[in-house]
Symmetry: D3
Subunit: 281 residues, 6 copies
């Protein structure tokens, strides 16, 4: 069962069609013969790593009109300006109704994959993983995390129910790193490692002392990170976050951290530019 | 009935909580006493035009735990780094469960408002409107269009069922600008103006001749736009699109077009950085 | 994407099946062999303009049992008593489960189309359009408006988000016709005309003076309408409403108004009588 | 738990608000100050039996804006032209958003109650019950059946899962009245009586012989009905259907049948005319 | 329309897939090639009466991957340990995603059918029916009641809207058995028999005197039941409940009651043990 | 955000009310005055560990009628026959509508907690955890897992998206334990431990060699388990499953395994017997 078959993705497609099509496509109703058949091509208007191709067929299936879809590239393909991603054919009414939703979804997801690929490329030949965060666009979490994988990145946990990450606010509420980690050890399911956010070396020591499996080193400079990695010396997995961009990521990777998490992959990836061109059959 | 009361927004909040919280917040369950009460502040980590404040209360209402919300700024306020947007208090469990969704939604919407405000500022003292497009993030259309208004922009139509915009693909399917406009006049509800996409001066003439009320001048240079505006001479509303960014927008406005539509407002606005800080009560 | 493919219509079909079938069709379960195959014909029991034929297949698709549907007439056809609209074949259990919903929906929509066709016929050879209103049956808006088009009528706006119609209550809240129209001009998207409800000639003048594009002349006598049309003299589109029925509509059309809106098309159209007759295969 | 608290009714209200309000109330947004408070009265524009009053509060609760509702009449009240049904107060934006849905639902349901009351009045002082059918408007079944009760009528079964009514198509599929009734006796839950549709006296005898508890005498003339009632002589409950209208119903009741079912109560009741008038506070 | 085609069952399948699959099947994603095809067999690990086979195909249809399903037994079949119920083939990813939901649903429903069959066997050659109650697992009502029928039992009413059963709490609220039955006679639809809960012989007399059609004899000993049945002497249908288990049921049936209702059929049936075994193609 | 506030739980409550109440509570409608107020007590009819108390208020909130709820015990309390769990008061109609759903949900969840508590008690003073599985009742996963915690057990992962558990079918599809574990290490998020199902000592060695963090020792005898635990010697967490019941669990715990998983906790826990008794106010 792929991400595209999740009930939540089907619900998203229907909600998104509803918000765009509303009670019907007025312009098409009043200008195009309802029997008109057409072909359409989806093309890149710039370079990109494509993500979301299987959505095309699923969106078309919601729109009736018997649209046929021919996918010309697979997710993960790096396309160049002018490349054709897919060919569609069927009712012109149906094609015009789904055009914008197909483009909007593919533009967003390919934007995430493209940005991820750039981060991954930036740390090439290091042993460091680029991972995402929970800073995603509401409603698109599973699809965006798929796009991160498509671009060569790795996923952090998907959400609050599938991993233990003790952050600063938890530490405040729990009364300290030590109590938090010990409580987590006692109660958490055995399938999870326990990761703890640390901002200073003494917090690192406290977390290690309490038995943390992984440390989220937040907002440290590369120098601080390097020192921390050296100090931790393999006793825990290390994750760097904060101040990560395409200019800084390689230097951060060079500190020896295992993982760099990048919120921008999902909250600020610019959309890739795609368009659809119709022709008559 | 505000945008925040739409059934689709309630559905979005629930879907987004479901995707983040899943079957429950494991970390909080295992580290924080379920009776713990706390306060929290939402703060800006950079300058921004705020949009989405009324969502905080609605998200909290979905999470139980009796969270109280005090909004310190209204939508449209320009905040600076460090400003406090809202204070929350209630169950620490509930606060930690809603933290990320509140931040994710406000970050996205404030990002749209902030970018819009920059475009609006760039055309200040011209008579030109900045408007959005249908290039929105699937599921967030109504909220993003609200954020555009919050940033000082105007909305184009909301979707396919609430306006007549005859684009290039319609013209292809209809067999030309003339037939398309005439068919639209005959069939469209009387409450709509008829807008037509034009890429050349001869298309402009064909659209005007058929009785178009508004012309979408797509991908023209400022020089071409200026010539078109002069040629149209008030016979139709003029809208420019394509190649619009913060560097070019003022020059485009200077051509005399009535409206500039900017897809990037909603498809590529970088998220604003916000955070939530918990303290015990 | 036709009205029959809208997510809201799929939701309506499922909700309506749920309300009729409940936890299962008891009578059929206890009287008919589950393997029994059958044929069925849907017939008119009176004259009617048919609307909703494509719903048959969609309802059957929800019921399982592999029902095959043969549509014998298209929407808009004027049928006579005894005419067969469609032939169905498949599992007798499935056919008996969907019988009533198919008939109930087609009866309502054909009722709307039939009544609309009578109004349209009544104003034949005038230049006047018959349009619907927002006085629709909750949940059936898009389908009823489709049925109005099927009967030869035109649609007014679909709902509150796709047109500007300043009615009496807005005028009260805005502090007058002038302020309302001026505010609408300043803020409304450029794709909309601005229509204003007027009940007196001085209101007409105020609306025209403020730049209204269309005037809804409410509850005027034919004499008043004729005088208003003459006075307006093409400066705005004119719409008449109130007191419209099959006896008065032609006289109202003769006043020269562009549009007559008729709430009864959708709130009080009597159902057309249809039935389904089963036979064994 | 009243009909107004059913999950399906909450879903209907949200779907109906969504279809009317769409992405927001444009006219109100552009003409009315968002802080404006107002009062509103809902008034009858003709005589009617009111049904649906508790929906007002539930619709308002969906719209935000803190609308207060004062119900001045209870369901079942016979109002006259000009009577005030309810007073509302709160945000003008919210009031204008819910106006049409409140009126549309109350108009439909009061239409059903009003028509039912006329049928009930027509058979006054007979021992005959007026009951509804499954010929209801899709999505409104439970509400319409409530309106029938409000108008003084009785309900037949609600749907396919809550009663045994062996109709002509079941008899065809089962191979006759006898086999159908015997099969039903053997398999149906003991809480149900078994009702059978009969069109001739020999079918009546066959149904009685097989042990039917009730007989639906379909499309018989009053003479035939009287003869059938005499022949049945209390051995089964008798229900008449077909050809029932306000002109014929009393004569049918006079035949001595126990029950008369009237499809028109729910499929063709004309809407009652209501309106809402806003004033400033 | 079978129980498996009900909208509520489709909703249950999607909700259950969502709760199990969440945002995706992590283990399969990271261990199995996405192109891998496989076969799978579903086998019984003990003796059972099977119920729910048609769900397999419907669950697979929700999961994508083009799974083919071959059902080897029909519902109601008594299988033995090791018997193969179904063979599936298709994408290994899809098969692994649906495995648990298929097993969980079939295990529950076959558990109900198996337990029911044991009760039915225990009263073999008596004239007594085994029926279920409303003590079902929330969300599974219609499926569990189908499983009861599959195991040879009968259904009581499905829920509150499809039968009249006046229980002790109603009698308290109505002010006695007599008033309750009389009120029910006057107001209930004619398709229902009226059943009344009785705990003493004087309550039996009061119910019979008021015209009850059926009596629920609650928590009586076999001796009391036998006396009651003799006393009632065919004047009403008799149903025994309370204290029913596989050790007592035959003795209760021997009292001559018409019906024995058993809550445990649906609230406490142990799951049948099934498993799915994958092999490569 | 507790499990009771999850959107899926709200959806379950509404679906379960819909399946029980259908189009309305007929018996109550026809026997009880709609204005009648009442009190009700929920009592245990046997000993139990209570789980699900907060659902009472949430169910009542869905039913209207202003029911007040007083919870007398907290989840996890061990009650005895006759103990009162909660007192409710409000509209008799509303109380009678929610009675069965409240009892059905509490009976199921308390059944899970009660059975779990017995298993936990059986391994008291060992260092072994009792955990649940994914063998849950469809739709009740999160609530049942909560009930396991309430009874003193621990949770395994919630579903497929929140843990890595390489089972036999994955191993088949991946081509062996070694390749499966290595692939998982490379691709899985760093927050997860990797657990592998093993049935022989050589599989244990293969899994350890590939770096597994936890081993699911399936269907081993206590002797085999003891040998495996000794052999593993702390190199991985050990989990026993298969053949676990109240007679065997202590002996299995004595083998030194860290965890015993018990499917029966959620798939076959007998319902606890509760009832609700109404009295007039």
């Amino acid at each position: 069962m792929t991400v595209f078959d999740l009930p939540a993705v089907e619900a998203l497609i229907k909600a998104a069609l509803a918000e765009d099509v509303g009670s019907g496509d007025l312009t098409t109703q009043v200008t195009v013969d309802v029997e008109r058949q057409a072909r359409a091509e989806i093309r890149a208007k710039g370079d990109a790593t494509v993500a979301g191709m299987p959505l095309i067929r699923r969106i078309c299936d919601c729109a009736g009109g018997g649209i046929r879809v021919e996918e010309l590239v697979r997710d993960g393909t790096k396309v160049r300006k002018g490349d054709v991603l897919a060919r569609l054919s069927g009712s012109a009414h149906a094609l015009l109704s789904v055009e914008r939703l197909i483009l909007n979804l593919l533009q967003q997801l390919s934007g995430v994959a493209t940005l991820t690929a750039r981060f991954v490329e930036a740390v090439r030949d290091t042993r460091c993983r680029i991972v995402d965060t929970r800073k995603t666009v509401p409603g698109l979490r599973a699809l965006q995390k798929y796009a991160v994988r498509t671009g060569g990145g790795h996923n952090h946990r998907q959400g609050l129910s599938d991993g233990i990450l003790i952050k600063n606010n938890h530490i405040t509420a729990a009364g300290g790193i030590g109590p938090a980690v010990i409580a987590a050890r006692a109660a958490a399911a055995h399938v999870y490692k326990i990761e703890v956010e640390c901002r200073t070396m003494s917090e690192v020591d406290e977390a290690l002392g309490a038995g943390a499996d992984a440390l989220l080193l937040d907002n440290m400079t590369p120098e601080q990170l390097a020192a921390a990695v050296k100090h931790i010396n393999g006793r825990a997995i290390t994750e760097a976050s904060g101040g990560v961009n395409l200019d800084t990521v390689r230097r951060i990777a060079a500190t020896g951290v295992d993982i760099i998490s990048v919120g921008a992959l999902t909250h600020s990836a610019p959309a890739v530019d795609l368009h659809m061109l119709l022709s008559l059959t």
